[in-house]
Symmetry: C2
Subunit: 410 residues, 2 copies
Amino acid sequence: MKVLVLGGDGYLGWPTALYLSRRGHQVGIVDNFARRRYDLELGVGSLVPIADLHQRVRRWQDISGLEIDTFIGDLTDPLFASETLASFRPEAVVHFAEQRSAPYSMIDRRHAVYTQVNNVVGTLNLLYAIAEQDRNIHLVKLGTMGEYGTPNIDIEEGFIEITHRGRTDVLPYPKQPGSFYHLSKVHDSHNIMFACRTWGVSATDLNQGIVYGHQTEETGLHPELATRFDYDGVFGTVLNRFCVQAVTGHPLTVYGSGGQTRGVLNLVDTLACVELALDHPAETGEYRVFNQFTESFSVGEMATLVAGEYSGEATIAHALDPRVEQEEHYYRAAHTKLLDLGLVPHLLEPTVIRNMLDVAERHKGNVDPTVIQSRVEWRSTSSHLSTDRNFDVTVNLPGEASSVGAIAED
Amino acid sequence: MKVLVLGGDGYLGWPTALYLSRRGHQVGIVDNFARRRYDLELGVGSLVPIADLHQRVRRWQDISGLEIDTFIGDLTDPLFASETLASFRPEAVVHFAEQRSAPYSMIDRRHAVYTQVNNVVGTLNLLYAIAEQDRNIHLVKLGTMGEYGTPNIDIEEGFIEITHRGRTDVLPYPKQPGSFYHLSKVHDSHNIMFACRTWGVSATDLNQGIVYGHQTEETGLHPELATRFDYDGVFGTVLNRFCVQAVTGHPLTVYGSGGQTRGVLNLVDTLACVELALDHPAETGEYRVFNQFTESFSVGEMATLVAGEYSGEATIAHALDPRVEQEEHYYRAAHTKLLDLGLVPHLLEPTVIRNMLDVAERHKGNVDPTVIQSRVEWRSTSSHLSTDRNFDVTVNLPGEASSVGAIAED
């Protein structure tokens, strides 16, 4: 199958491209290097060194004999989006090409607007290009479990049957996203659903949980094939960051009570889920949603797991929560559709955590301890991220204090 | 009260500004003249001549002795949004300043992206300006009943109590909007709800039905105080357009079976509803939704009403529906919150229709019959709106035909 991986230079996009290439698909990568520019902007970087895209692709060809096409450009440029599809003529598009950090979107007005325009316009341009060129292209879009928020009822996969005043309908599941980033994904979901209904586009929306892990069969073949490992306060996801905190002797910082519960999955399961979606495409005009995670933990449980597996001493510290979120809540989310298609989950076993701790240990010389704590306050409209590393989080509401901690979500 | 009316040069914004001015409020108008530019773009215009904004405001001062401030600029410019709020220091903001035509948003990719970016970014800039300057400013935002679509259960006002697998929660009502314009309003709703929860902003989202009518007590005081009356295929709303078709001897064109049912309200009730929202503001941090319409009709019923009141001969023609929508469906929507606040509806009585027909008759010399039919096909990604008036709607799907008709919604 010809598959275009949008955002194929990123944490998940790169291993996905390699995985699909190795499994016999003809793969093209689209990227505008936005993710690498965020590193430059924030003064942060991947814990594990990563090669640049062209070097990665050459190295992959050396090792595997397999070619990956590259298309460098920005999906918010409609001509680029259209010409790339016309040139590669994919049968499926896997769309990771969005700004994916909740804290980044909450830095200030400019970052909020950037995130929503970048994500929504990129996806709109893609939908138009598909509808204009080939409505049989299957769109596999990365959404997030964060679209649902934390309702007091079970979360279903995209839709819910509601009986109300004696009548029944199956309707889109209500959304309560918790950041301007999560909101951008909700906007995307509505736009894509409409394109499926109106133009007959076929789309699978993968509402993904928090991904942990670093190595896949393919990225492990050579250091130049490694993917990113983020631990900073803006882009680091919770389990990866706890591992870095453990090996550098910092307390594992938990926001508030730590009762925030989220679905998580192993990086290698992300790849398997994307392939399952590709192998079992949505019907013509169908918009379907898969909840893409394998198990749920509270942030406090995750901290305890990492601290328990670390060979040295690891402490857990509680900090004020910079986010506006429920610290204790009901959480039960369906995730059977991918299992029904054959997903065999790789769960968060002790060996998995120990492998992640090993990665962190091996590269801990690269850790900049000043970037680990989160400096983005949800209640503030402007969090000052100093690059000189001598900063205080400025909170413009009375009664708030600055805080440190690992983020609970993507 | 100091009230800033965003989009105060438009069909609803202008009469709202006059109404609030006359009722003793200190009113400022913000506008970027986008609506007048759409006229220039499409080669259309208001049936009833309208004065330019500065002339209107001068005329109002001559007649009433009341001053209205004007702020000319674009809300997508963050500095303009911020400086305007800082300069006027409103206690409430009434936000009409969005691209409000569904067909306009469906012309092609460029118009879809423009509509979503214009509406979403303008509202985001406004939310940031409020949160940064004064979180006590009450935001009264114009939404649309079209956010809900046509579910097979009763539509509630913004939220619905759902019992699911033995648990219950009150959640945002599921949205199924029918155009990129309606989607932009759904995106706004989610963004505003989040700003209320996160920053303590207070907002009332007025999910308005289709507005009909032209004259208010204030706009009737002088021809230079008149508001727009749109009848063209892109901006004309259904009842206004049926009246123009009747007086110019054209069949009243109904899409498909005409069973599409929508909530409607009289222009004078829009003004009353906005004032009720202002007089009874949302609580700190509250996001509330009022369904702002007074009665429901199918498109076929509306055509029959207009044809029945017209003194001459009026025929009704059915055409293929250029939209992707249900032509027959269940429709029952709650609209009690504004009634509870004291709204006394002006219903679609025969005299109201006859008054609208009189307006159309008086100005029928201004009608350009070539712009009445809709040229925007939902199923096409690019509807060619020729300005030379010798055009065919190009539909790029097999089995579709071009069609003419009055639009069912805003």
